[in-house]
């Protein structure tokens, strides 16, 4: 099992793995409250990268990664994730308009 030390490295490699084989890549997260440990794994059944942590600050980073993966998986591997945060406000604006019309 390949544990990556650098978070950014882990993110880059996992997105690469997904883009190389979007159909068989999966992202697994294991959390143990009693041990205070979080382990993330991305694999396409051939290559595997993992990241483990006990730090609370990594939860925020993991949430961003979750967003990245959600976007990639639903919209497709060709989506430009450089702006996952850039996309969310755009979507929110659309929904606000929707609410206005319903009134």
């Amino acid at each position: 099992m390949v544990y990556i030390d650098s978070w950014d490295d882990f993110v880059e490699r996992s997105v690469q793995i997904f883009r190389d084989d979007p159909h068989s890549t999966r992202y697994v997260m294991k959390y143990r409250h009693c041990d205070g440990k979080l382990v993330l794994k991305v694999t396409d059944n051939r290559v595997c990268v993992k990241f483990k942590t006990e730090q609370a600050q990594d939860v925020k980073k993991m949430e961003k990664l979750n967003n990245i993966f959600f976007t990639l998986m639903v919209r497709g591997p060709d989506v430009d994730i450089a702006e996952v945060t850039g996309k969310e406000p755009a979507e929110q604006q659309v929904s606000k308009k929707g609410r206005g019309r319903r009134q």
Binding site: P22, Y31, Q57, F70, V74
Partner: protein
């Protein structure tokens, strides 16, 4: 494997996190899926690419497994609620404060104590 709608899935996921506070793990898996059998998928691909992919999310606590499938319109809302659930429950992790050396020392002692537990082997 129980397939649920996104909202009941989140409720059940919350329950899992509550149940595993003292002992146990929660695994959550994300995978892209078209939810169709291989043969059908190949037919659609050769005909014309109109396969709608969804995001399959599975969660288990080693006793029970639940799952849900998200489409392009559901995922943003799910993403926000899911982040809330995680933030609410993942509070056992250490906070990196250089001032609190005592807390991290306590955390290390607990980790050491936990490592001692699984080393019991049955005698032949």
């Amino acid at each position: 494997m129980v397939l649920l709608q996104p909202d009941p899935f989140l409720n059940e996921l919350t329950n899992m996190y509550e149940r595993t506070k003292e002992k146990g793990s929660v695994w959550v898996t994300f995978k892209r899926s078209s939810m169709k059998p291989k043969a059908k998928r190949k037919k659609l691909e050769s005909a014309g690419e109109v396969i709608e992919y969804r995001c399959l999310v599975r969660a288990t606590d080693a006793k029970k497994t639940i799952s849900t499938s998200l489409a392009a319109k559901d995922y943003l809302r799910f993403q926000a609620s899911y982040a809330t659930v995680l933030k609410a429950h993942m509070n056992a992790l250490k906070k990196r404060e250089r001032k609190d050396k005592k807390k991290s020392a306590e955390g290390e002692k607990k980790a050491a104590a936990d490592q001692n537990k699984p080393t019991s082997k049955p005698n032949p």
